[in-house]
Subunit: 363 residues, 4 copies
């Protein structure tokens, strides 16, 4: 459905990196939800760059203006539109942007799809900047889910091969997830930060970039969310996650690790505890048959290295269909993983909200 | 949208493993497509069990009856419904099925979602048998795509830790993919078959099962299929893949391998060859910015071990909310990976068809 | 969405008049609904032709086989597919059907849309026979709505200019609507039947046909169903009604009569009665701002005369693009209004169910 | 889909009458469409009030700011968002608005649906002001359709019982439709204007309002747009038309007049003219079997009298659930029919664009 996602909660996203504004229309939010705009701003800030002057300026730019669907601080049930003005639009060599296709970027694929009519400035509609509206929508859902006892959090699972401590798929709790959200550099084992930063700096000095992975979890999720065909929780969440630029892999529970396991090791034995059904292990990441089973939902996402690097690269000039070389100037994150953490959380928040509302449709 | 998938091509799936019939309604197929029912039957046979008597019987049962949308051997443009009667419905201890939740299966999640009203026989609507209609729909799309020069094929990338030779993401061609489709045990390096079968047999004798992975590729795919938000090729394909029972991970190109790479290694340098833009490498699996770039589309899928194992397992009896033990009787595939190969291909065929039709909407 | 309708309740319809079978997949029905198949059969019988031998035969043919979504007499929550085999397929001059476009029918429009590939036998997918699956789906919803205190009924408002007594938009009750459903010829004033039948017979003898109108009402509908944009109750219901062959007009409350009224006459004054808000009049047909207001929902539908008439008509032969004459042979209803009554009821039943489930999504 | 409409062209509407802004996201427009913003402004001006000072101010307020999807004057293929700031927000007795339900308005229905959380100021999201974004979206489609030789226009068919001359359903041409668009008071027979205005003035002096009807036509529409189930042209267009506040009836061709006709009179005889199939008459309004047949598409819409009238009315106070009286102050259009003309045109423009793009999906 192109730029609209969701069955019960619906997002419609719009905007280009260097256009007048970007934003999202969120429809289907619970009625009467009291919106804490400060909490929303905190999530927005987590996605914005670090603490240097430009960053502050940028964070200003990421203040969301809610132009509809909110009355006296509560959601009205009408579609809620959040707008973010692009205050910090830099000029640039647009002509070159339209000719030279950046390797690893959407440039060429988009040039073909949009017949050269797309806005090339800063990646246009493909820009990572478009994840800001997702974080905004996710922040609204976070408040709706919190009211239902559901907490979502994520950590940097790895950067350039340096792994963080793994999430405990059975014991992870809301407090742990909230703590990750408050951290500047979301790790379960802060001791890994130095090594990760060293790898990033090393790459930056080499005019290069690095990738990594993010692990996201949700606790307090009731059993019964999802569907066998076609809207399994995995399908719904993966659909959103793969809309995030640079995400190339999504896996649930032990994920690709399950390929080499046996059924006796992969099945999660069940037992009754305090009158509730629970599992002794969580190799399935809280989802069986596409539906939540009451265990924490755990998912891992692969983030490729930032395609914008300073090193000269071989590419093509579509204006004359000839080989060419490109050198991407300007400041670029040598690693986007830390800033992608709240975006991945948002995908989880949005997917759970959509499926939760779905459950409330069956009289 | 629950049981309906797709924007331009639409599938609506229905049926239970032991109900009267299963099937799918396929809408949006190109008009006037000449349907080769024999070719469809061959794809159906690939998903059915091996060559023993029961298998034959089952394959009989998987003959698809097209009850609409076809006239004089051509698609009419009206919705096409394919029906598969469940001729081989075995009776069983239904009462126990409704009480004892099989670990690793949808039983408990489905019991909660459907409030104990779902059909528990053979997994009901959750059964892997529901992938037969997907293979049928995929087989129709295969014929539509072949007419457009697109070929799709997959191989067993690994079983129980034994890896097949990897697909060449740049050089893979239609002939290779067709050859895989004709193979009884789809491998690029047939020499691995013995080791894989040994691991499976080993597990079977232990009353256990094994998992594995499948790699699927599409060649001849034009650049420009997909979208930045929300219907990227990855989102569209992953949505379908995660609807397949037992799939727990999906990754494109180098997938999770990209997490430890640098941008200079992950970006695919471009050049002009014979007047066409091509990439020297294909770390991105033929997709950048969510849109195909003209390179082969390559995707890897994690398949967990068959949850049905003979060994006794700890579980719960929901009828009295008490701990219990379950022993799953009857014959079960100790490894479903080989039979899942055509199902994974179907997801690729369906996703590409949906996105291809989408491109034809932009006058 | 082509052949799929609905946001919360979803129908996917398929089949051709003379193909193997027609049917519908209904998804989203309340879970655990106890289905009274006899009651369903009664609704199906109301749509089938009168009491002569062929009719009986036809009614046999309209027995619905539920092949999924039902277990031990209850809906499971999985998609429910109802199949109707086409047992009474008559052969005919198909070649002529494909050449000569019947005036007033879909023939030419469909020939262009489907590029001459559509099944022309008996109208193919355009046949009024496709309303049988709608009646089946509506009958299931009737049972779900009855459990919620909602009753739907319709009457022949006019045939060939002979008007029935109007429905009392304020006082109409469930008993009146049920009585209409039990009538062979649904009228509020049975005295009009003779005059109506006379007009029909008159037309039949002249090798001609007549049109008419149907008024449908729903009582017990809670206030709050619908939406301002875009899924108003009027939009949702009209969308379905205009899918019924021969329907050319839809109006709510006083409908076109409102064009000549003043606001003081068209506004429905409100008052509190027994602690509930009610209206003194119902010129708005129970819908204001696109949302139900608690009054009976009243809608009128225009049904054009059966386009199949015995008289010779001027048309075109698309095989040679030349003027031609056509004489439509075989038995045809000189008036389809009586048989269309349960179909119009079904549209109301389906629309209300979809919107009712929608309301249950807003936590 | 709540606030999103369309399968191939998609609109997502948002905003409240007295909120910060209203707007629409339009997705799926043809790529590279050159947007004439002046022509868009002309259509917007037609919906705005007449030529007195306030009107000018309001028209200012209805200037649309395109914040995305447009680059160098052309559509990019990315979602296009048009924003209209609410500059002219008057304060008012909001407290009373929330207590006293205006008869004929959405107040009570909306109060129940949105649990009293909706924005009551000026009707909030229910306001006729929300039709401005529809006119904006329609104006974009008008440019896309003009490039395909399709012209859409409408006239005031009647006001308070005074009828305009009828549209010639066979001979209507693009020139006639363009002329209607340029007229300040769109009539085919300007001589009726005086009588219509007199009726409106009469009602205004009596503190009352009047209704009327609008007839819209499209010429140059190719045969083959629409579908049998469920997206017939009538279903698609009626869905949008019934989203327009005050619309209570929609009819195609002879509409309700067909109820009293015979098949021999209602069928449109066909012939070949200049190698094209055409009809001698157009009783079916250019649509048969839900699909366009190449004749002008003609549709009539019933518009109820403005519910806001100065006369005191009986209503309820929901804050104490008691009977009450309401007197609606402030200036209100005693007749909204003239301003609704471009809105009805927009519905036709949007529906045709959606269905036209659909046709381009069938390879």
């Amino acid at each position: 459905m192109r730029s609209t996602w969701g069955n019960n909660l619906q997002l419609t996203i719009f905007g280009e990196s260097h256009g007048p504004a970007i934003g999202v229309v969120v429809d289907g939010l619970p009625i009467g939800l009291s919106v804490d705009e400060e909490a929303v701003a905190r999530d927005m800030a987590r996605r914005a760059p670090g603490q240097d002057p430009t960053a502050t300026a940028r964070r200003e730019a990421d203040r969301v203006r809610i132009v509809s669907g909110l009355y006296r601080g509560h959601t009205t049930g009408a579609p809620l539109c959040g707008l973010i003005e692009n205050t910090n639009v830099r000029s640039g060599d647009y002509e070159a942007m339209q000719r030279l296709m950046r390797p690893g970027h959407a440039d060429y694929a988009g040039y073909v799809k949009y017949r050269g009519m797309n806005d090339p400035r800063g990646g246009g509609h493909f820009s990572g900047r478009l994840t800001a509206p997702l974080v905004f929508a996710g922040a609204l859902c976070r408040q709706a889910l919190a009211a239902r006892g559901i907490e979502v959090g994520a950590h940097i699972a790895s950067i350039a091969g340096v792994e963080d401590a793994p999430m405990d798929p059975v014991g992870v709790d809301a407090q742990t997830l909230r703590a990750l959200r408050d951290a500047r550099f979301a790790l379960l084992d802060p001791a890994r930060e130095a090594a990760m930063r060293a790898r990033v700096e090393e790459a930056r000095l080499a005019g290069d970039s690095v990738g990594g992975s993010i692990e996201v979890a949700a606790v307090g999720v009731p059993a019964g969310l999802g569907a066998p065909f076609f809207d399994s929780l995995e399908s719904t969440l993966a659909h959103l996650l793969f809309s995030i630029p640079a995400v190339k892999g999504v896996a649930f529970g032990d994920g690709f690790g399950l390929c080499a396991m046996r059924g006796s090791g992969a099945n999660d034995a069940m037992r009754v505890q305090d009158g509730r059904v629970t599992c002794e292990t969580n190799h399935n990441g809280g989802v069986t048959g596409g539906i939540t089973n009451g265990m924490p939902v755990v998912c891992r996402v692969a983030v490729k290295p930032t395609p914008s690097i300073a090193q000269p690269q071989r590419t093509v000039d579509v204006s004359c269909m000839a080989d060419a070389q490109i050198e991407i100037r300007g400041r670029h994150d040598p690693c986007i993983v830390p800033r992608a953490v709240p975006v991945v959380e948002s995908a989880m928040l949005l997917a759970l909200t959509d499926l939760l509302l779905e459950e409330e449709t069956r009289g």
